[in-house]
């Protein structure tokens, strides 16, 4: 059985309540790209400890016996995977597939998806937050950084959209 998606405004209210809960319970917004980094940092820390010790950037995630895997953001993105799975199971949307425009090949879609992931998380780390960490959570606390990042993301995406239109329509 396949059910259609929730009404966007209701889904928005639900997401807003989740964000508000994060603010009330933990005093912070949501985030995602940071979680990627903590995972990567802990993998690098396990694979190549000397590299971590010598790097100023890596070492700050391990000082005072901290473990990047038991971090708020890391646990939160594990939760996102679980929550998405629950929702998909409830609404009957669990299915292995590549979603793409019929005009492009599967390989092209996967390559672009990979490149998009590289750029998105790289940019997200540079701006200290992605669409959820900076734009969404930043707007909810009226942070100027959040508004600037949001405008930069959506503004440039509209420009690039014209270049990559073949991928989607």
């Amino acid at each position: 059985m396949k059910r259609s998606y929730m009404n966007p405004y209701l889904a928005g209210i639900l997401l807003g309540i989740v964000l508000l809960t994060a603010m009330v319970v933990s005093g912070r917004g949501l985030g995602a790209s940071g979680g990627y980094k903590y995972c990567v940092v802990s993998i690098v820390g396990a694979v190549d400890p000397p590299h971590v010790e010598n790097s100023e950037y890596y070492s700050k995630y391990f000082e005072n016996g901290k473990k990047p895997l038991t971090n708020w953001l890391t646990l939160e993105i594990f939760g996102v995977v679980a929550g998405g799975f629950i929702s998909g199971a409830v609404s009957g949307r669990l299915k292995l597939k590549v979603e793409k425009s019929p005009k492009i090949s599967v390989t092209r879609r996967l390559i672009f998806a990979f490149l998009g992931g590289v750029l998105f998380v790289y940019g997200g780390q540079l701006a200290r937050g992605c669409t959820s960490g900076a734009a969404l959570s930043g707007m909810a606390v009226l942070s100027l950084a959040g508004f600037v990042t949001m405008i930069a993301i959506f503004g440039s995406a509209y420009v690039f959209a014209w270049i990559f239109r073949k991928n989607w329509i």
Binding site: N7, R28, G31, G129, S137
Partner: protein, 203 residues
């Protein structure tokens, strides 16, 4: 889609209320008035100068003395281990910086009584139940710890201990306050608070 219209109207109405509110500050008392009143009028909210003297000589790190006088007065006569937060600054800034550590008992004192009592009610009202006062302030400190001498002909063991505490605390007080100004400032500055960095974002 019909829901858009209702939802838009609701959001506009709610934000109209917000626009009319003076959302200037983020701090309001959260305690219940009757409970707060009976808490602050209770004797448990005050320490005597002798108790404070004992904390000082034991260098008890579960206690934080907070001096609410002006910086000039503080520079002239400081009780060892105290930090200076002038009272007007204390009420206008976010007290989380100073009182955030729940494992520490914060003891306020001022020149006499009044400011420390305001601060006690203010801090407890905002939910910092780890706040106390030193009754009588610096005036009482000087009168009791510094100036009371043993009188009479017989002394009990308890009195002896009390006088010994006062003598040692008094010595520490005199020692600190007779330091040259530059050294003393250095010592006092070393106990400054810095705002706790909030956790968040994606860093």
């Amino acid at each position: 889609m019909i829901i858009r219209k209702e939802f838009s109207v609701l959001l506009l109405l709610l934000s109209l209320i917000l626009a009319l509110l003076p959302l200037t500050a983020n701090r309001s008392f959260t305690a219940k008035p009757d409970k707060l009143l009976s808490d602050v009028l209770n004797e448990d909210a005050s320490f005597t100068v002798d108790q404070v003297a004992e904390f000082i000589i034991r260098e008890d790190n579960t206690v934080q003395l907070i001096d609410l006088r002006s910086p000039e007065e503080f520079r002239k006569q400081a009780i060892p281990g105290a930090v200076n937060i002038p009272y007007p600054e204390f009420v206008t800034k976010d007290p989380e910086i100073w009182l955030g550590n729940k494992n520490v008992r914060n003891i306020f004192y001022s020149a006499g009584d009044i400011e420390s009592d305001y601060a006690l009610v203010y801090a407890r009202g905002l939910g910092y139940d780890n706040s106390y006062v030193m009754a009588g302030g610096v005036t009482e400190w000087i009168r009791t710890v510094m100036e009371t001498k043993f009188t009479g002909d017989r002394i009990t063991a308890r009195e002896n201990a009390l006088f010994e505490t006062r003598r040692r605390a008094g010595e520490m007080f005199t020692e600190l306050n007779s330091l040259p100004d530059s050294l003393k400032m250095k010592f006092l500055e070393s106990k400054k608070f810095s705002a706790k960095k909030l956790d968040g974002g994606c860093e």
